[in-house]
Amino acid sequence: MKKAIFITGLLFSIIGIAFAQTGVKKKRPLPYEFGRVVINNYSEASNIAPVVFDHWLHRAKFTCRLCHVDIGFAMTAGASDIKARDNINGYYCGTCHNGTRMFGDTSAFSSCKEESGSMNATCDRCHSLGKNVTRKYDFREFVKGWPKERLGNGVDWEKAEEQELIMPYDYIEGVSIKRAKLVVQDDFKIVSKVKGMPNIIFSHEKHTVWNGCELCHPEIFVGIKKGLTQYSMVSIYEGKFCGVCHNNVAFPLLDCQRCHLQEVK
């Protein structure tokens, strides 16, 4: 008996040490999973499957600014506090998903209809976590022939736009404000703290094409003077600063040379 307890205890200790050293390895999302957001403010409480939102389909059609500034989606899952009533009233998802708004030849299907107490196949298109729902658009087919990238969705979105394979909408009538022309700020250098690591060249132009100004300033980047904000890869990996987007939707942080561009002399 004592021997059995000793062996069991030893076994658990070994397993504990093994996990303590390596931790639980985080699985890298597959290309079609990268940028997936699960929204569950009220779904489970209402006995409905939580919403699964895949960024890759929407970012191919719309700029980040259109959804996150004009429509007003928050930058973190659940922070918008969306209810079905909001969609029915024509806001958030309901801004486009009202059955009538046209994008080219296609109308966006109607979300959250007024019928009470009835879930149907249309609801499943979004409320799909844990369900075996056949998507209308297959990821592989959708991005076939597009410029490839090593990480994230496996798509070089920047090149895809340059080659006009995607032409994201940046304006919706009745929703977006007619704004003055964007004045692009200069690129600048962020000096790397690690010796031998190339400095970062930050391109305002590349970011503002997709985001505008108010998406980043001041919510994500508060510092008004160069050098005031102390960036670190730890904080970025925790989801601050660049990590707000580059942990989840934009090209991943593992792709170091996309940002650390300046030649080391």
């Binding site: 500034v69 009533r85 806001y91 404000i177 007619k178 964007l182 700020q185 100004c213 300033h217 001041p218």
Partner: protein, 112 residues
């Protein structure tokens, strides 16, 4: 003839004290609706310059921030079936543009 005159007089009285109320009330509803719609127009005007916020003068930035704060008070007082949704949505949208102007203002004042 007298009865016609009496009926006409009664009808005239009813119109003045009751019918006009409907018309005036209807006009007030129109004014109310216009005011309700005007705040969205005000939001669009305030936030129309976010793309060139850094080019605006200090005075213009301060003006837009002040207008945004006043508009937020109006948004907080919205009523009606869409009020809850619109308060949530427009508070977020207005906050983004107001904070950007504040950011640009702080940058300019710091530079000076």
């Amino acid at each position: 003839m007298k009865n016609i005159a009496r009926l006409f007089f009664i009808g005239f009285l009813l119109f003045n004290f009751w019918g006009r109320g409907f018309i005036v009330g209807g006009s007030l509803n129109t004014v109310y609706a216009q005011e309700q719609g005007d705040w969205k127009q005000e939001y669009a005007e305030i936030c129309a310059k976010t793309q060139n916020a850094m080019e605006l003068s200090v005075a213009e930035l301060k003006d837009r921030i002040e207008r945004a704060d006043k508009l937020q008070e109006r948004i907080n007082k919205l009523e009606g079936p869409l009020a809850e949704t619109e308060k949530k949505v427009f508070t977020k949208r207005l906050k983004m543009c107001r904070e950007l102007y504040s950011f640009a203002l702080e940058y300019k004042e710091h530079k000076e």
